[in-house]
């Protein structure tokens, strides 16, 4: 009970912060929309992929990309928190590190999901047709993806002490994760050794599932996508919890 209450407190704080920094939502939507309109629109005039217009094909990938970026970069907050003394107030609270981690993780996941939901609704302008099932399933995929990646970001943030270090490390991670996920093109034709990277990239399964849900263009069975993404989420949550245990 004590832990649950603490968890709600931490979550509540993250939501307030998110609400007061609403302008971040606008800036976080800017780059995905640019990708869709300029890159997707431009390519769409010359190419179709698997029977759909390229712009439409791109949409699920860009949706996952936006969650990828906002989720991992949420870890930056913990680097920042460690520098200001407010975090000490949280660390002396009689709460387990698991609770503190989970509170942050839920906060970051909520942020990413709100951004994801706004972007998802913009799909109407890019040739996506929704059903109740597809909206629920798409949000579920985004939830698993952002839970995994927020945890990864928080883990990195807990282990690294400088903002610059965090940015450097994350950019080495985030771009490969984006390019190997198949967000921009079908993965079939990649040579074998490159394909290996696509299999170890959690974003691959989110993109595949999202394409399956919105466009019926999945490569793997949907159930398998969910399962693998869920496994990634559990793995990164455990890793993040471990990293928070080491925070003094």
């Amino acid at each position: 009970m004590r832990e649950l209450k603490g968890l709600l407190g931490l979550w509540y704080r993250e939501l307030l912060v998110f609400w007061r920094e609403k302008s971040r939502i606008v800036s976080s939507l800017f780059s995905p929309i640019l990708w869709l309109v300029v890159f997707g629109g431009g390519m769409g005039t010359v190419s179709h992929v698997e029977g759909v217009n390229y712009q439409t094909f791109l949409f699920p990938g860009i949706l996952c990309m936006s969650v990828l970026f906002s989720s991992i970069f949420f870890g930056l907050y913990i680097v920042w928190d460690k520098r200001i003394d407010f975090f000490k107030e949280v660390l002396v609270a009689p709460l387990s590190r698991v609770t503190i981690f989970t509170g942050k993780m839920l906060g970051g996941t909520t942020d990413s999901l709100i951004q994801g939901a706004i972007l998802l609704s913009l799909g109407l302008f890019f040739g996506i047709h929704y059903s109740i099932f597809s909206v629920v399933a798409a949000m579920l995929i985004l939830f698993l993806l952002s839970a995994a990646l927020v945890s990864l970001g928080l883990m990195i943030g807990a282990l690294i002490d400088s903002l610059e270090g965090f940015n450097l490390f994350v950019s080495f991670l985030i771009f490969p994760m984006f390019f190997f996920s198949g967000a921009l093109f079908p993965l079939e034709n990649l040579p074998g050794w490159l394909k290996f990277f696509t299999f170890i990239d959690p974003v691959t399964y989110a993109v595949d599932a999202m394409r399956g849900i919105l466009l019926h263009l999945n490569r793997f069975p949907l159930g398998l996508d969910f399962l693998i993404l869920g496994a990634f989420a559990l793995f990164f949550i455990s890793a993040g919890t471990w990293a928070f245990r080491k925070l003094k």
Binding site: G9, R13, I84, D85, K88, V92, P94, L95, K248
Partner: protein, 277 residues
Amino acid sequence: MANPVIEVKNLTKKFNGFTAVDSINFEVDEGCVFGLLGPNGAGKTTTISMLSTLLRPTSGTALINGHDVQKDPAAVRRSIGIVFQDPSSDDILTGRENLLLHCLLFDVPNAEIGPRIKWALELVDLTEWKDALLKKYSGGMRRRLELARGLLHKPRILFLDEPTLGLDPQARENIWVHIENLVKVEKVSIILTTHYMEEADRLCDRVAIIDHGKIIVSGTPTELKTGIPEPKRPPEVLKATLHDVFLYYTGKQLRESGDTAEGGFMQKVMNFTKKNR
């Protein structure tokens, strides 16, 4: 009385070979106020960080309310409240939200959350400011809010690291009266650091003077004041104050390290006071 709630044995903290706290020993009895005095960099905050489980001691032990800070940090955290030396409130929240968050983190019973927040705001005279973002508070107002926050969950043991730093005289008086009540009525035990000697004199049952990580002397304020040579001054201010005690014990070290800017200034002060003895 012999019922120590804090027992510190040979507590030591080294930062890469530099010894910030050097094998200190002391006890604090239940319902007592223990003052840690010492110049900047003496090791006061480091000591409090170790006692509140934020820093792992290099060696030695500390028992808080019977719990070892290294073996059972969770139990220690349930027993304590702390007011940090540096600002530790969240700027992006309002005063009331900061207090509410504290209540949730420190498990204040739900029915009591509302009344206690109201009480805390009144105590430090910030009721009118409760819905303003902390960014808009002045330094002293922030300090007052943090003080009130440390009391919200009614801890048995309180660590106050320079609690009245930067407060105006009225606010300081309010806080002093409140600390005295806490000790008298609720039997809270307190470790307090301060650079204000009159504060230490008024509040503390026992005082330890710490410098370069070592406790140089400890005792009741009266013991300490009668333990040094009487200052030679006009009769109306003849009696030694804790201020004299502080300079008597820490002055030597300052003179040795007279090459620092601070040392140079303090040396002038010391020479001046010596001339007037």
